[in-house]
């Protein structure tokens, strides 16, 4: 289609946000919401990194008294809780928020106001944990808070409650985000993008969202049980009153293990996109990759007991979980082989995003191998709760999820800002982060094998652990310096970067068809898709459909399997209700730390907010055929 200035004008008036603070609060633009999510998560990553550096400094010499045990315990609790609940999962959801509509050629998410609500509620959880930290009521019981240590008898005060309620915040936000992403992917694909023509990235986000929906209720249940033990003296986890502390661990890990894959699977989506574009050929084994992701998603729910091998469960049961845990190496290995085959048989270019992918493959394979070792129930009795595990999960989570995330950040940065990041400084940052990371974490495998336990604020002299700890500290310092260079590069490039144009990398998928940065409505016309890599296969200009309204907000709804156009759906305008509802929920969650009456009274408040939210205004959908464009 040739550009039509009058039409563009009208659409920009329809989809533009109101100016100023009102527009900031009321926006339902998925890109603005996602950008907030990403900036918040990256800021928290920096804070958690500072905590890590502080802890590494403490462990540099034995018998160190620089940090008190209380401060150290708070630091690792805050570091773990922040990274797992407030950074890793939300940042993956944010990438989905930002990219899914663009990759679908859609104008917004399926539930725009729910997206805004997710962010505001997540922010409530962030502020709960970190304002509590500023007020010295930091949780100090790890990222897992096992009872009875977290119960009322051994943890008086409100540190444990802050943690449990922060979980409730972030999990409600994650559930809302996942429903949103799954509905968008299933019902808003462009005409022609059947399930078989869906890029791996979208599959990854879909599977991760479904996993979130299935696993998060377990942890919300278990933290609610913990809070009711603490607040209204139920006895779910009091052995003396017939409760069982192991119940907590089962429910926690029924969430906790899938969570690892909820973080990892979106990263495989990033890797697939980057590998395809920079190898300049279609992904090798598209179906195999998709089936691998699905089978990882299914297997992830049958592994949780491998976190509990030392608990004293029946040995034969443990061996079953050993087998299930080792089985996951097969689909994960298949994925790695598919990416390697794509690079091998393509015409690869080694720009920074691709280098991040290579760093990912090298690091993640090491994490996978140590994972196979810990999967053995017999071997794990020596390895669990040692620095070997610290090394293992940092290799899997940093190498497996954050390196692809950094690559994705460099890859899609031009699309978000219209500017290129510096390749030179990007590579310097990569060398610092990846080199420092390996220098910092590889020695921890050895420390674990030498018997150094996790979560100790100091260790005795004469154990032979000093040198390796010093190397680990040096590595973490280098890694943090690399991270600062990465951030400086992103910030400077925002103003100084070379203009990128719409498609700087010659990408394969639809987000590159939109302008950079993408306008609030993303696409003036709905693209029509005939292959997995429309940007490479379609004629120019891209085939599109017209027929979506320009004078009011409208999106196209298609069928789940065939992506056949079904109807045009009204899409919501900027709204104050998401933040009002999020504030109401925040008030209820925080007040319920102190009194059970917060639950009924807060429900009234939330009910009022939701009544405003759902007040009927206009008909929801318009039936009728869509015009077909040139």
């Amino acid at each position: 289609m040739t550009p039509d200035p009058a039409l563009e004008d009208q659409i920009s008036r329809t989809w533009g946000d109101p100016p100023g603070l009102w527009g900031f609060i009321a926006t339902v633009d998925h890109k603005r919401i996602a950008a907030r999510y990403i900036v918040t998560a990256l800021l928290l990553m920096f804070l958690a990194g500072m905590l890590a550096l502080d802890m590494r400094w403490q462990l540099t010499v034995p018998e160190n008294t620089r940090m008190t045990p209380q401060l150290y315990n708070e630091s690792f609790s805050l570091h773990g809780s922040t990274m797992l609940y407030l950074v890793s999962v939300p940042v993956m959801e944010a990438m989905a928020f930002w990219l899914v509509p663009l990759m679908l050629g859609a104008r917004n998410m399926a539930f725009p106001r729910l997206g805004a609500f997710s962010y505001w509620l997540y922010l409530g959880g962030v502020l709960t944990l970190w304002i509590a930290h500023a007020m010295d009521i930091t949780p100090d019981l790890g990222w897992f808070e096992y009872p009875p240590l977290a119960g009322p008898a051994y943890s008086p005060g409100h540190r444990a409650d802050i943690w449990a309620q922060m979980i409730t915040f972030t999990e409600v936000a994650a559930l809302c985000a996942s429903v949103n992403v799954a509905a968008t992917i299933l019902k808003m694909r462009p005409p022609g993008m059947t399930l078989a023509r869906m890029p791996v990235f979208l599959w990854a986000m879909l599977i991760a969202s479904i996993m979130t929906i299935l696993s998060m209720p377990a942890i919300m249940l278990v933290t609610s049980m913990l809070i009711s033990d603490r607040l209204v003296s139920t006895h779910f986890f009091s052995p003396g009153a017939g409760g069982d502390v192991i119940l907590f661990q089962h429910l926690f890990w029924f969430f906790g293990h899938p969570e690892v894959y909820i973080i990892f699977i979106p990263a495989t989506g990033f890797v697939s996109s980057i590998v395809e574009t920079f190898s300049r050929r279609r992904l090798f084994g598209h179906s195999v990759l998709v089936l691998s992701i699905i089978s990882i998603g299914a297997l992830a729910f049958g592994l949780w007991v491998h976190h509990m091998f030392a608990v004293g469960l029946p040995r034969l049961g443990n061996d079953f979980y050993t087998a299930a845990s080792m089985a996951i190496a097969l689909p994960a290995g298949l994925q790695i082989f598919c990416w390697i085959a794509t690079i091998w048989s393509g015409r690869p270019r080694f720009d920074t995003p691709m280098l991040w992918v290579i760093a990912f493959v090298l690091t993640f394979v090491i994490g996978g191998l140590s994972g196979i070792m810990t999967a053995s129930a017999a071997l794990d009795l020596q390895l669990t709760d040692t620095y070997f595990i610290v090394a293992h999960f940092h290799y899997v989570l940093v190498g497996g999820a954050l390196f692809p995330l950094f690559g994705a950040f460099c890859y899609w940065y031009p699309k978000a800002t219209g500017r290129m990041m510096s390749e030179r400084w990007g590579k310097i940052a990569l060398v610092g982060i990846v080199g420092g990371f390996n220098l910092g974490f590889f020695p921890m495998h050895l420390l674990g094998l030498m018997g150094m336990p996790r979560r100790v604020y100091t260790y005795p002299t004469g154990m032979g652990w000093d040198t390796l700890n010093q190397i680990a500290t040096a590595g973490s310092v280098i890694s943090v310096l690399g991270g600062l260079i990465f951030v400086a590069n992103a910030v400077v490039s925002y103003w100084r970067g070379a203009p990128s144009g719409a498609d700087p990398w010659q990408g394969s998928t639809l987000e590159w068809a939109s302008a950079s940065p993408a306008p609030p409505w993303n696409f003036t016309y709905t693209p029509v898709v005939h292959s997995l890599t429309p940007m490479w296969d379609e004629s120019r200009p891209l085939p599109v459909m017209e027929g979506l309204a320009s004078d009011h907000r409208e999106v196209l709804i298609t069928s789940v399997t065939d992506a056949a156009p079904l109807y045009r759906q009204k899409s919501t305008s900027p709204s104050i209700w998401p933040i009002v509802a999020a504030v109401a929920v925040t008030i209820m969650f925080i007040a319920s730390i102190f009194t059970p009456w917060a639950v009924p009274l807060g429900s009234v408040l939330i009910g009022a907010a939701l009544t405003g939210w759902f007040w009927p205004l206009r008909p929801r959908a318009k039936q009728g055929p869509l015009g077909r464009g040139a």
């Binding site: 045990p69 315990n73 240590l149 030392a310 050993t322 196979i372 017999a378 071997l379 336990p453 100091t458």
Partner: protein
């Protein structure tokens, strides 16, 4: 056995790494995808069966003549009890586990408060100590000497200083040690020790027991043969007269967060208590 498992895992990893670049990679993936090649499946199967057999071997029952030991985790120390094979009586000590070389000790693990984990890396893998449950672990040490055990499940502020000493003795030496532990305390009959005992009977005896005296507190470690141990405060400090006196004066400075309070004693009384404890061999 642990070393064997580790070797298997590393070996399989090495084999896998060698296989990867062999031949056109596309062919390898194609074989995997089409199911032509069973090779990728063999590695995990060997590991799974190996792990299963190792696990069986580790937890095989070892006869009924095993030495019976109970270890109970407390925030941040270990109650250790031996069943006297002759009388059936339980002999209590704390923070120092003696084991006979080559004989199997069946250790019953429990917890008095929160979850702890019993781990002596040089002797066996770890098993959690869970309140409301009882876990068993069989220990058959092969090497003589001192080893370090430690709590490996985060249990609160002083998790880092919840350690214990393990001494593997020859069976006769172990029997002699156990017989000595079974005896009540025999403090030296000097006047300073007597004064220390009378001070101890006040605030200290509320939590600590010394068998053979009126001190019968159960909240803290049994001190009947305190001076025979190698370290104090659950592996925190070596057993020296100076450390004992410092510990009595300022436990919160040496192990912040430990449940033991600083008891205000006059220097003379503190000195007498330290002297008394040093005679409890």
């Amino acid at each position: 056995m642990m070393q064997a498992m580790f070797g298997i895992a590393v070996g399989a990893a090495a084999v896998g790494a060698q296989q990867a670049p062999a031949g056109p990679v596309g062919t390898v993936v194609g074989q995997v995808v089409a199911g032509d090649s069973r090779e990728p499946l063999i590695g995990p199967q060997i590991l799974i069966v190996g792990s299963f057999l190792a696990d069986r071997a580790l937890f095989a029952a070892r006869g009924s003549e095993a030495l019976q030991v109970r270890v109970t985790g407390h925030q941040y120390w270990w109650r250790i009890e031996y069943r006297d094979p002759a009388t059936g009586r339980w002999i209590e000590t704390a923070n120092e586990l003696h084991l006979p070389q080559g004989r199997t000790a069946r250790v019953a693990l429990g917890s008095a408060d929160v979850i702890h984990s019993f781990w002596v890396p040089n002797v066996a893998g770890k098993i959690d100590m869970v309140p409301g449950r009882r876990n068993l672990i069989d220990l058959t040490p092969r090497r003589l000497g001192w080893f370090r055990g430690q709590c490996s499940e985060y249990c609160g502020t002083q998790h880092a200083h919840m350690a214990f000493d393990v001494k593997v003795d020859s069976p006769p030496a172990f029997d002699a040690w156990l017989a000595a532990q079974a005896r009540p305390a025999s403090p030296a009959p000097d006047p300073i020790a007597a004064q220390g005992a009378s001070v101890f009977a006040g605030p200290c005896a509320a939590c600590h027991a010394v068998r053979g005296t009126d001190a019968g507190g159960r909240a803290g470690p049994d001190l009947t043969h305190f001076a025979s141990r190698r370290s104090i405060a659950a592996g925190t400090l070596p057993m020296t007269r100076g450390n004992v006196q410092a510990w009595i004066a300022q436990p919160q400075a040496l192990k912040p967060g430990v449940p033991m309070p600083a008891v205000p004693l006059s220097p003379k009384d503190a000195d007498a208590v330290a002297h008394y404890l040093a005679t409890l061999r």
